[in-house]
Point group: C2
Chain length 191, copies 2
């Protein structure tokens, strides 16, 4: 995402001097940039390139739809909102509609963007587009052959219990739970 409001700031901006490509994988790429700092010194920046992802706060009968799946970086399963990686050039709204249908069977009548956020801007450019879908039509999930996950629906109270016991412990899902509570309280949502 390009921020049209950003204007150069010589007191803060770094200048890229060179880029060394280290790894080109299926999901991520790794490069090490040499940059010039505002004081003229040089430094290294380890950077992950990622195509971005989509996720959805999907509410049906006052319950949030979640999926449990194994996360190899954590060595355990986690409960998360439905999500998926973006292919290059793919429309985020189409991608989340497809992921929601495949993973849970639900179809969203409408998808509203809540936030687009960088997960870890210090070392990665991964951008997640988080949508709200609060009118859903039930259907059959159609998981890929190599996709293993278990769907469930939870109340807001159960969501906070799962945050407390760390079954829910990722940024996008905690952010979605907070947004859901703000909707209930009549608070302000995103952009």
């Amino acid at each position: 995402m390009t921020n049209s409001k950003h204007t150069p700031n010589p007191a803060l901006d770094e200048i890229t001097l060179s880029t060394e490509k280290i790894f080109d994988g299926k999901v991520i790429k790794l490069q090490v940039d040499t940059v010039q700092l505002p004081n003229g010194e040089t430094s290294k920046r380890e950077i992950i390139r990622h195509n971005g992802a989509v996720a959805v706060l999907a509410i049906h009968n006052d319950k949030m739809i979640v999926v449990e799946q194994f996360r190899q970086p954590l060595g355990r399963t986690q409960v998360e909102i439905p999500a998926g990686k973006l292919e290059i050039g793919e429309d985020p709204k189409d991608a989340i509609a497809r992921e929601l249908k495949e993973e849970t069977g639900y179809e969203a009548k409408e998808l509203k963007l809540l936030f687009s956020f960088y997960t870890s801007p210090g070392f990665a450019d991964e951008l997640i587009h988080l949508y709200l879908a609060d009118e859903l039509i039930e259907g059959e999930a159609k998981l890929d052959e190599d996709e293993f996950l278990e769907m469930s629906t939870i109340t807001l109270e159960q969501a906070y219990e799962q945050i407390a016991n760390q079954q829910i412990s990722d940024a996008k899902t905690i952010m979605a739970v907070q947004a859901w509570q703000l909707i209930k309280l009549g608070g302000k949502l995103g952009q």
Copy 2:
């Protein structure tokens, strides 16, 4: 963070068959694991290892303390809550107290953990501990020689304006803004 509540689930769990170490940097490490899926097939998992980080929702006179800094993965500056990387074995509360003091000059009378969350559990084990500090003592910032950032304080309304124009666009800061609004509305916070 180990989740003591996690019990093995053969329908979901992956088994690590081998690990190939690709890169060992200052901030991140990259490895590619070969895993066995629940259906017996094998697959590759690209994994970033990170020591974790700390961040703080710091409120003074009903304004949130933020810092603007350049983020090389994004190629621009961003406005974020004060944060820093954890050293191995470092206590997260000590680390955020130090980062807050260095980056902004403020000292927290008390630090309360709001959430510990994984930023991107699909490919990284980075865990951020997000604290609340709502009683602060003003002081002088002491930035490292190679640290370039500009502090400011913003209202909740300004925070949502900066989310709308993407000056604020990272997970931890949006999560903190939502938590701040929930505090004002008397809602439920984290774990």
